[in-house]
Symmetry: C2
């Protein structure tokens, strides 16, 4: 845990803070698909991501889903931080997109460290900043783009975070993430295939030239 932590956060947190994190944090290794946070759930800790990718989803009262963004190594969940200050109930769902390693820090420490460590303060501010912009960009996509463009963006982003030109998802799963329906996604994917941008297979999609 210590070497993982140092590798990922050593150059942004001071030694003393790293030591504190090691003392109070708990190391967690989760498999792909593991649900880390559920909507409405009370949060016990704040995650520091060491490796892997976490996807953050929003859901409305009818159960309709929407992918907000991915967390990658070195990221933390600003939503969690936001929750720690407010009503403490999660507004989002977090699912491991790949196998992931992370450190859970008790939320009580958050404010203490904010006072004590400049590097922690900067980290928290920076996380908010990055997340706010990420959310803004997600909003742009939904507000200004049509489904075909959103789909292309989705495939690109997914390939990027997973470092893989193969998208291991069914059309139904993609439809959930984009808050659309399976038939619509199949239709658009077919078009992309006809344009030579992707190659469709059962349970996976190969990206050729997006």
């Amino acid at each position: 845990m210590i070497q993982d932590l140092k590798e990922q956060y050593g150059n942004i947190f001071e030694e003393e803070l790293i030591n504190e994190i090691v003392q109070v944090g708990t190391f967690k290794e989760v498999p792909e698909g593991y649900k880390l946070i559920e909507i409405g759930e009370y949060l016990r800790g704040m995650p520091l991501l060491i490796s892997g990718v976490i996807k953050i989803l929003r859901e409305d009262e009818d159960g309709d889903e929407l992918l907000l963004y991915y967390l990658e190594k070195g990221d933390t969940c600003s939503m969690t931080m936001a929750c720690c200050m407010g009503d403490a109930k999660s507004e989002i769902r977090a699912i491991a997109e790949t196998d992931a390693k992370l450190i859970m820090v008790p939320i009580q420490k958050m404010e203490e460290w904010t006072t004590k460590y400049k590097s922690w303060r900067n980290f928290v501010f920076n996380s908010y900043h990055v997340r706010l912009n990420e959310l803004l960009s997600t909003l742009d996509n939904i507000a200004f783009q049509k489904m075909d463009e959103r789909l292309i963006g989705y495939l690109k982003e997914k390939a990027r975070v997973n470092q893989d030109d193969i998208i291991n998802n069914t059309h139904q799963e993609i439809a959930y993430d984009l808050h659309s329906s399976r038939v619509v996604i199949s239709r658009l994917l077919k078009k992309l295939e006809e344009m030579g941008k992707i190659k469709l297979h059962r349970n996976y999609i190969k990206i050729l030239d997006l």
Copy 2:
């Protein structure tokens, strides 16, 4: 300026911080429609809103607009804060929805005060928190609601921030805010009128029972 500031922020900022704000901040009074921040513009200061309402808009590369949310008294612009830490260019446009009074604080002070004053730290964190949730709620509206529901929400919110059952806007202006077209908005407004929820007039709309 001092009495305004104390009235609005006196119970959250300590005396010393208030004094600093008075020293380095500049008081600004702007009329309705005044453009406070433009997209891509470099930010000189961070606004603390004393009175009035500011609307925050997003725009894509084609010039299509979208209303994100309103700032009310006691709010500050988290986007601005986010900018101060990042590339400093504004991601959004800010327009005075009503006549407004505000205090502009030089962005250099932001980090200094973050270290120095706990109340300032909390204020900044809290602003981020509120804005993140606001943005999330905006995203919910766009992603999960249809235009008629969004329109109702828009009218309600506008009536709330302006404390007025009269919405002083043309259909075209509403269409811009919701990133739709005038004809669509006119059509939906007519339906709402037929349902007895509103009464339409030239240049304004009276809300009856939304």
